[in-house]
């Protein structure tokens, strides 16, 4: 089992993640690195010409391998981790999945809970969805009267759900039902 743990640590290191990274973090980091080294970025541009193309291919290959190993073995190593002490990784990844799957109705507080479980700041939601901070708060608190017309709210909820990695149409449907009743 020690070998498994060591392999896991190495793979997480390749994806530039801490030892207690959650499965969601693994997925996000993988996607980010993969894009970085296959699509290019201003972060690579100034240094690229010093390194041969093979260097980049090698990096991508290692990232792919690490991700593949982690997706296949993550759960196993998580459970096998520090026995008794409830390892952070297994707890966090399990918790995310469990909590989200238990939510039946996506109202404001439910969205906030998902956001908090994922460790996403309000400011980051604002950045990626372009919804104003006040409206994100209104959405989470269910201040339906403070929110704009339905057509806008529909767009807000769809992008917020996307930002949290949730099933967009389902969340929109749940939320708008409450919104209409609450107005």
């Amino acid at each position: 089992m020690a070998e498994m743990t060591e392999m896991k640590r190495k793979c997480l290191e390749t994806l530039e993640l801490p030892p207690d990274a959650t499965m969601l973090e693994i997925k996000t980091a993988y996607q980010h690195l993969k894009d970085l080294y296959t699509k290019g970025s201003i972060a690579i541009l100034p240094i690229e010409d010093e390194y041969p193309e093979e260097a980049k291919e090698e990096i991508v290959r290692k990232i792919d391998e690490a991700y593949k190993w982690l997706t296949l073995n993550y759960q196993k190593t998580g459970d096998a981790g520090e026995s008794g002490s409830r390892g952070g990784a297994s707890r966090a990844s399990g918790a995310v999945r469990e909590e989200v799957s238990q939510i039946e109705e996506f109202d404001g507080p439910a969205l906030r809970r998902v956001r908090e479980i994922l460790g996403i700041e309000l400011g980051e939601v604002e950045f990626s969805t372009k919804i104003s901070l006040q409206h994100i708060k209104n959405i989470e608190e269910g201040n339906y009267r403070a929110l704009p017309e339905e057509v806008f709210v529909k767009g807000y909820i769809a992008s917020y759900a996307k930002c949290l990695g949730l099933d967009g149409p389902k969340v929109v449907e749940h939320y708008l039902k409450r919104y209409r009743n609450g107005r």
């Binding site: 980091a29 970085l36 972060a43 996403i120 700041e121």
Partner: protein, 311 residues
């Protein structure tokens, strides 16, 4: 914040560099110093941007009369150069050198400066190094306890940043070999890089490691010791926030060095307004998101934490 350095007698020295000018090194240095001071830590901000010192402006102060040139030329003790900033727990040592050229400071003088900085009665010394990749800047950077780089989401800034990091590492390698009596080994190897088939820093390090088993150990410990903390300033979108992670990755995977993405500060036009009004931004607009981000960032530095975002 944790009291990691409480039991230590000498202050922890932070060096703030990054190559390009105008990325916000002085703004960040003064702001993070104010954040530290607010938590009750005794902080001295040292404006080591010899020749271009302007931290005093960020603190709303006039150009101090006593500066590091008094230390270098007249042997005035550093503690006498500390000027009060008007903010609790925070004093300033200005680096403005009017009479002598900043490049003329000898290596021994720099070492002396560091020796004396460590005797100052404070918890933290935050050194703003200014732009450029001169040996002067680089040596100060290497000697510090924490190496912080500030950059902005612009390809030019990143170009200079990587150059700066490479220079820092190159100089560290040279010093490591010099200690073993192989003073010119690094530079000679690099000069003959075509012969050795080396095209970048990573190749060089790998080549040097093969010199001998002893050197392999020395280089391993050099690599292990080396730790950069990256700050991305003036972010305007989530793409910009993610750029910090990309830079970290490039430094790790291409340069083979240990880097951490410590934090970001979003662009706020009030930062410039505050500067021009002579009021420190983090105190005037303490509730703004940029100010909160600087607080988080300062905590991350002390606790060796990184930006951990999931979008």
């Amino acid at each position: 914040m944790t009291d990691k350095v409480e039991d230590k007698k000498c202050p922890e020295i932070w060096a703030v560099g990054g190559g390009k000018g105008g990325t916000g090194k002085s703004f960040f240095s003064s702001s993070t110093a104010l954040c530290l001071a607010e938590t009750g830590k005794r902080v001295i901000v040292v404006d080591a941007d010899l020749g271009g010192a302007n931290i005093h402006s960020f603190l709303g102060l006039k150009r101090p009369r006593v500066t590091l040139s008094d230390f270098f030329e007249k042997k005035v003790p550093l503690s006498d150069l500390q000027v009060s900033t008007g903010f609790d727990n925070l004093s300033l040592i200005s680096g403005d050198l009017q009479s002598i050229e900043s490049d003329s400071i000898k290596y021994t003088q720099k070492l002396k400066l560091f020796r004396h900085l460590r005797t100052l009665d404070a918890d933290f010394v935050v050194m703003d190094l200014g732009a450029g990749s001169h040996n002067n800047t680089i040596d100060s950077f290497i000697n510090a306890d924490r190496m912080l780089v500030v950059t902005v989401p612009a390809v030019t800034a990143l170009e200079n940043l990587y150059q700066f990091i490479k220079n820092v590492y190159f100089r560290k390698l040279k010093a490591a070999f010099a200690k073993k009596g192989l003073k010119d080994r690094v530079i000679e190897t690099w000069r003959n890089r075509e012969l050795h088939g080396l095209s970048n820093l990573r190749d060089l390090v790998e080549h040097l490691r093969k010199t001998s088993e002893a050197m392999d150990d020395v280089l391993q410990s050099e690599v292990d010791d080396f730790r950069l903390q990256i700050v991305v300033n003036q972010v305007k979108s989530s793409t910009d926030i993610h750029l910090g992670a990309s830079i970290r990755s490039v430094v790790r995977k291409y340069l083979g060095l240990n880097a951490e993405y410590t934090g970001y500060i979003r662009y706020d036009e009030y930062i410039l307004r505050c500067l021009n009004n002579g009021t420190p931004f983090v105190r005037t607009y303490g509730y703004s998101r940029s100010a909160k981000e600087i607080e988080t960032l300062t905590r991350n530095i002390i606790n060796d934490r990184q930006v951990r975002e999931v979008i």
